[in-house]
């Protein structure tokens, strides 16, 4: 299980569920700048898209190794942010809507600093408004991955990464648990869909415990919301053990949840969550 290699014939799939509710308009410090959570999240998701494209780069061409979907949820419903449904990574390479210039300071080992402006392509633009229809996002994701798995029965199963800073407003916790369970029931011959939840820290609520890929035999969280996200998150297969243990410590198997996560750590967590992109043949 979870052994399938990513090839052009048996490509992989990644789905990002992106909370774009009103609370994402709050200001945060990200990469040394004051910006909004929505800005920071869109930069991280765009960085992930760029990484998937980069990892697919071969001799003079981009290999069609992944299908990717980004589902944003805000207001009353979820919507697909890369056009409808999954897009081939080869299509995404040509779909950037704009370019963003981001100041970056590099600190070198001798202590010197180099200020640069880096140019980054943008597919997902920042947005923050309204409520949190996470239930609708989970339903949409389930429809998409179920159809995808039928078309790719021998592939590594889809990875769904849900990034949120709050609780669903369109479904009760029990309904969210049911929707997530249905999502995780989809799968290929290589295993079920992997659902990972990343909760962005609310700095007004620092008393809530943080979690970062907890071991399965760790105590279940007591906070109601973290407990829900914990319970709906997948247990990660062996493929993830080394990279999580290296970055985080702990004993596998690990649970695919990061709760109360500083936004500065998001790109690293997305890189872990999308680990199969390192396993392209």
């Amino acid at each position: 299980m979870y052994n399938a290699q990513i090839t052009r014939r048996n490509k992989g799939a990644i789905v990002i569920l992106l909370d774009r509710s009103g609370s994402m308009a709050e200001e945060v410090t990200f990469e040394g700048r004051i910006t909004t959570r929505a800005e920071a999240l869109s930069e991280c998701v765009n960085a992930l898209l760029e990484e998937i494209i980069n990892r697919s780069h071969r001799d003079r061409y981009i290999g069609d190794y992944f299908d990717v979907a980004v589902i944003g949820y805000a207001g009353e419903q979820a919507e697909s942010l890369l056009g409808s449904g999954f897009r081939h990574i080869t299509e995404i390479d040509t779909m950037a809507t704009s370019t963003k210039f981001i100041p970056r300071t590099h600190t070198l080992p001798d202590g010197s600093r180099i200020d640069t402006i880096i140019e980054r392509r943008e597919w997902i633009v920042p947005f923050a408004k309204g409520r949190t229809p996470m239930g609708d996002a989970l339903r949409m994701a389930r429809r998409m991955v179920t159809a995808w798995c039928r078309r790719h029965p021998e592939s590594f199963p889809p990875i769904v990464i849900n990034i949120t800073d709050g609780e669903a407003t369109d479904a009760t916790p029990e309904e969210i648990a049911t929707l997530a369970a249905r999502l995780r029931q989809a799968g290929t011959n290589d295993g079920n869909v992997l659902l990972m939840n990343i909760h962005i820290a609310d700095f007004d609520n620092l008393s809530v415990e943080s979690l970062k890929f907890p071991s399965e035999n760790s105590p279940i969280p007591t906070n109601r919301h973290s407990k829900l996200l914990y319970e709906i998150s997948s247990t990660l297969p062996d493929l993830y053990n080394e990279v999580i243990a290296d970055s985080n410590g702990g004993v596998p198997p690990f649970r695919a949840i990061c709760y109360n996560t500083p936004i500065s750590e998001l790109i690293g967590l997305l890189a872990i969550g999308s680990l199969p992109i390192d396993h392209i043949i």
Partner: protein
Amino acid sequence: MRKILINEIFESLSCGEKAFRSLRNFTLLCDERGVPRFMAGRNSVVVQMHKQGVLYGLKCYTSQLGCGEQIGAFVKTLPSNLIIRPQILSEELWVVDRFLSVAIYPWVDGHSAEWLIRKAIHDHDTALLATLEEGFIDLVVNILEQEWRHGDIKAENIVVRPDGEMVLVDCDSLYSPALPKRANLGTPLYIHPLRKDAYDSHIDDYAIALIVLSLEALRRDVSLFSGESMVALPSEGNSERIRELFEGNNALLELLDALLSDDYKIPNLKDILKCITHR
């Protein structure tokens, strides 16, 4: 420590010499957006650079290179007509929060065999497939006469020069009795399913058989291609069709049986290859 992104490597490269411990006086080749021209591998990214008027490949490892210094010393003893010999600089490039190893090697003009195979398939160019196969067999018969093995033979790691000569790139998975045993060598698609952590002079056998059989099969029926150039892979489900295509050719049938067997070793591989090319 978290995983390094390829863009983060590019950002470090944009800092120039200051991001390197020792590498000096070079210029990266970039596209119109200022992004380095590159190819990605499983644990590395290769960019091009000019240094003192010479074009080089700069391979930046995204994870730790096991036995880098021993490989770097050993590879200097290898024949340069068979394999490109990089200079390995351990812990050389600063990226985010750590030093990464790099390998520098003279850039080889030409195309990867993978690119050429795909071009041949696209163009239905069976003559090109035949030329590629012949060149590949020449190369690997030479290697099978050495005491070392490449460890990661695949179409992407073979550069075909403009004159048709082939040379191997990527020394990370080298086998030699002189080198320490390492695990996880090679690319899974090109590794016999039951080879596991075997580390011996037969680690290239399966990959060689796979490439030869795939090229032979494609020459006869290019419609076998469905995305993956290695059409002889058991997982591609073409074995019976390929057996039909090879009917009457004992050498190819013997090689196909060897590919599909439970043994990763093909002891008489060199003899079979010589029969295939009638040498």
